[in-house]
């Protein structure tokens, strides 16, 4: 079964350091999403890509977060500088656009701890 690959699985970083997460969506999926999930809460969208273009980044804290999907395939999410409040699970998901109404597939996530 096709999977969304994410790395690393866990990351511990010090406050004010830079950190990056990588995601490889299911092959052929044009739409890629980055979500953040704080412990005990539901996932919240940070950024949505359609191919290499950003469709929605309204909830992305752009002063410290950036995301790219240069060739419309894999994607990187970066935080610089990291803050204590950024500790969360960062989830990547992908979908075949026309089937997005039927749900999309998540990766296993990257659990970030900022100390």
């Amino acid at each position: 079964e096709a999977e969304v690959a994410q790395s690393p699985r866990y990351k511990i970083t010090e406050k004010s350091q830079a950190v990056a997460f990588w995601c490889d969506p299911i092959s052929g999926h044009a739409t890629l999403y980055w979500y953040r999930q704080i412990l005990g809460q539901g996932p919240e969208l940070l950024v949505q890509f359609q191919d290499e273009s950003v469709v929605d980044d309204s909830q992305l804290p752009k002063d410290r977060f950036s995301a790219e999907r240069l060739k419309g395939v894999d994607s990187t999410l970066k935080i610089q500088p990291a803050e204590l409040g950024d500790s969360a699970m960062y989830l990547c998901a992908s979908s075949n656009g026309q089937f997005a109404n039927y749900g999309y597939t998540f990766g296993s996530g990257t659990r970030l701890t900022v100390v």
């Binding site: 969304v4 994410q6 999403y33 005990g40 809460q41 539901g42 996932p43 919240e44 969208l45 949505q48 929605d56 699970m89 989830l91 998901a93 656009g97 026309q98 997005a100 109404n101 039927y102 749900g103 999309y104 597939t105 998540f106 990766g107 296993s108 996530g109 659990r111």
Partner: protein, 112 residues
Amino acid sequence: QKEVEQDPGPLSVPEGAIVSLNCTYSNSAFQYFMWYRQYSRKGPELLMYTYSSGNKEDGRFTAQVDKSSKYISLFIRDSQPSDSATYLCATPGLIAGNKLTFGGGTRVLVKP
């Protein structure tokens, strides 16, 4: 008002019992709804999706939409300890193929 909301639980049931989970949603025009299961330290896994109103069944799982009261439900029959997880409801809202908005999740514990 959030698009979907759920009781955070935890909901504790004995093995074999029926688990009943609910979400409320904000706009009666929403048509698509999903239920995801999330084990600790894992990504959410799609369980079921429903369209419009009525019931949908898949094995031990039944999803139900009540448009008149803007309520969606997930029932798990013959619950097993392996069903212990957080259950998230989600909707793309009004726009077909839109981003999913999630409820806060309900934690379920099935005791042997």
